[in-house]
Symmetry: C2
Subunit: 195 residues, 2 copies
Amino acid sequence: MPDDTKARIIEAGAEIIRRQGFNNTGIKDILDAVGVPKGSFYHYFPSKEAFGLAVVEHHMAHLGAKVRQALDRPDLGPLDRLRTFFAGAAALQAGQGYALGCPIGNLAQEMSDLSPAFRERLDKALSGLARPVAAILDEARTAGELPEGLDPAETAAFIVSAWQGALLTMKVAKHSGPFAAFDRMIFGRLLARRP
Amino acid sequence: MPDDTKARIIEAGAEIIRRQGFNNTGIKDILDAVGVPKGSFYHYFPSKEAFGLAVVEHHMAHLGAKVRQALDRPDLGPLDRLRTFFAGAAALQAGQGYALGCPIGNLAQEMSDLSPAFRERLDKALSGLARPVAAILDEARTAGELPEGLDPAETAAFIVSAWQGALLTMKVAKHSGPFAAFDRMIFGRLLARRP
């Protein structure tokens, strides 16, 4: 089943790259993990870069589904849904010892200046992550929950960017402090309606 | 002059690592750039990791001096000083095509899960970057410029973390949008005293 082999290479590669970085991962590391010969790899991917871009697609499909599922909470108002979503994402980080971080953020950091194809794909990926956040903020605005003068799209882009910073800082600090600060500053202040 | 050789190895290495990553940089790349034999490298550094930690020290000394200099503006109030500082840092990023990012953030992303010694040093470095920001916010509080209820230390940690996120996002997006959002959200909203 050739498609299964391709998927297995991508999945194993995504995991290894997430742990040790793209440039620090040899094709051999991936092949050894999956147990397929080198020819197989080049049958599916013309280059290591093409493989890396397939790994980005894989993460985006996975993350996109997770985000949509986590945000599908009709029992909660828009801002509570968003806050609950980030709390869940922070709990996942805690569960993995604040290691690994965001696979998209990691690759963005490592590859944006080294490969135009990666940069372009990762730029789309980060914008893609901001889109559902903007949609929720828009919903909050309609419901009269958003403080005056906040633009949903710009605020969403800032939140996703600040979240990337919090993930990076948690990866270094190995505790939840950066998330607690993110949560309090974003939801307790920036998005809070003052009396 | 042996100390000069050591400094030259660190400086050249810092530049190469900033551009292409730590794991992606071979000792040979650095030696070729400086024009010294391999024995020289191991005379000064017991290992590549020890060399990497010296590169972190180098960046911190350099960044620390730059931050102190940029913040030494007795003509401006504390929050204006801080805002001007980040605007200057963003202009530097623009001047280098939004490439390279923050050398400390880059290494934190790449090395925190791969080397406990790096993680520990980079954790101290990021906390060290938050300290002068906290001092300014404390000054702003004394001057009655800080909104009620904001803790200077936690707010400073959040700002430094969100700034790391903005640097990462600029590196991918290659435009000033992420800085504009950071500036408006942090200084136009979070630190602004509402009427």
